[in-house]
């Protein structure tokens, strides 16, 4: 059977990983290549690199680093951040990325999903959405979760998949940063709505949160997190052991 995936997410600004601390045995925790190798050796099933650089020079640094990561570790790499055009897809895929995650760029121009899926295949296009409850309804937020688009979230994800997205990342703004567990209610609704893999993001605080995620919403395919891994609160080998003991199939 397909295993449940554990995915650390690394934010990169000007070629350095943001908020990388607390790693034993790492001399430079903000070096993306070294951190990627560390995660890969710990058993991460995939890595997400998120480019939060604003400048053109920073962007160039990012692609240089991506090339170096892709020459060093051999697991799937997903890249997001500032992806607005097919040229952006091309730029990161040439450096060894396997999938490209679109968010605000797809909200501005949903046809980007269709064009990218046609050129690179559905498996390459990941639709990522920042979602928050507004008056009891799930809505999509843009620009890193700062701007309410007014778009109803489940319908948006369904449309994205129809346009060609091969996976969706569901980031719950309501649970993000709270570390009280994933947004199971939202994830369950999304899993019922779309036929493609669903990656849960936002809210992981403990190993138990991952156990609950995969037990209570069994059709979720992957759990993504940043700070709990970066700050060493959860070590991936321990997490996989715990999942295994709870009869959740993972790669070991």
């Amino acid at each position: 059977m397909i295993t449940k995936r554990i995915i650390p997410c690394l934010d990169v600004r000007d070629g350095r990983v943001v908020k990388g601390v607390n790693f034993q045995g790492l001399s430079d925790v903000s070096d993306p290549v070294e951190l990627a190798r560390y995660y890969s050796e710990s058993g991460a099933d995939e890595l997400v690199f998120y480019d939060i650089t604003a400048s053109a020079e920073g962007r160039k640094l990012f692609t240089d680093i991506l090339c170096r990561v892709a020459q060093t570790i051999f697991i799937p790499l997903t890249v997001g951040g500032g992806v607005n055009t097919l040229e952006d897809f091309d730029r990161v895929l040439k450096c060894g990325a396997d999938k490209v995650s679109v968010n605000s760029g797809a909200i501005r121009d949903p046809e980007l999903i269709r064009r990218a899926a046609k050129r690179y295949g559905n498996q390459c296009v990941v639709l990522s959405a920042d979602i928050k409850r507004v008056n009891g309804r799930f809505q999509v937020f843009a620009k890193g979760g700062r701007e309410d688009t007014g778009i109803e979230a489940i319908g948006w994800l369904r449309r994205g998949v129809e346009l060609g997205a091969g996976e969706v990342v569901v980031n719950s703004i309501d649970t993000d940063g709270v570390k009280q567990g994933f947004d199971l209610e939202l994830l369950d609704e999304v899993c019922r709505a779309v036929p493609v893999p669903v990656i849960a993001s936002g809210g992981a605080g403990s190993q138990q949160d991952f156990v609950e995620l995969f037990k209570k919403v069994p059709s979720v395919d992957a759990g993504l997190a940043a700070s709990v891994f970066h700050f060493g609160e959860i070590a991936i080998p321990d997490l996989k052991q715990t999942l295994w003991e709870n009869d959740i199939i993972v790669r070991r």
Partner: protein, 206 residues
């Protein structure tokens, strides 16, 4: 030298990086004269079967692969590259493959239990079913990374490993010097690298 066949489908960056990582000398080329010099050939591929088969034929590289394979040069097809080794595919119509292996490529849709998602994407465990030099360092249950919606069937004489996804999916094939992986060894961590290393180190009779 390992010749990686470049016929304009997919991105070869990770594949070449991984082959170099395991110590191979790699030459990416679309030129039959260059590829003819290679000790071993890798046939990559992503996308649709029909397009890829057409591109191989348009460049004459189909004949090169067939000729070298018949001479005994080890050939490794990866993902769509593996599918192309078979006789035919039913992906969007009926398309002829290279015919180096007996069997055909069919859609997962309709063949799997309805609750399973298509494409088959993610890490799945290999179950060896026959001996192969490629499996030299692989243990049953080792996971590799798959992304595909079609699979090879009717290939009992070349099947060496499967992966369970509602039904046993053809994961690895080998018949003599003609080999293939449905998954992406270049994205399958240490297990994938071990498979590529075994391919590179195998004594070919080229």
């Amino acid at each position: 030298m390992i010749g990686v066949i470049d016929y304009g489908v997919g991105n070869l960056f990770s594949l070449c990086s991984s082959l170099r990582y395991v110590g191979a000398e790699v030459q990416v080329s679309a030129d039959p004269a260059v590829l003819e010099q290679a000790d071993k050939l890798v046939l990559p591929g992503v996308g649709a079967f029909g397009d890829a088969a057409d591109k191989l034929r348009a460049t004459g590289l189909d004949q090169l692969v067939i000729k070298q394979a018949q001479k005994g040069v080890p050939v490794l097809g990866i993902c769509l590259g593996m599918q192309l080794l078979f006789e035919e595919s039913l992906e969007y119509g009926r398309h002829r493959g290279l015919g180096l292996l007996a069997g055909r490529v069919v859609p997962m849709e309709g063949a799997l239990p309805a609750e399973l998602k298509i494409p088959h994407i993610g890490w799945n465990a290999l179950q060896p079913v026959a001996e192969s030099p490629l499996l030299r360092d692989v243990k049953p249950g080792d996971c590799v990374y798959f992304v595909h919606s079609y699979y090879a069937e009717g290939c009992a004489d070349s099947l060496v490993a499967t992966a369970e996804y509602g039904i046993p999916i053809t994961a690895m094939v080998q018949k003599g010097n003609v080999m293939g992986c449905q998954f992406h060894p270049e994205k399958s961590g240490p297990v994938g690298l071990a498979i590529l290393r075994a391919f590179c180190e195998e004594e070919g009779k080229a």
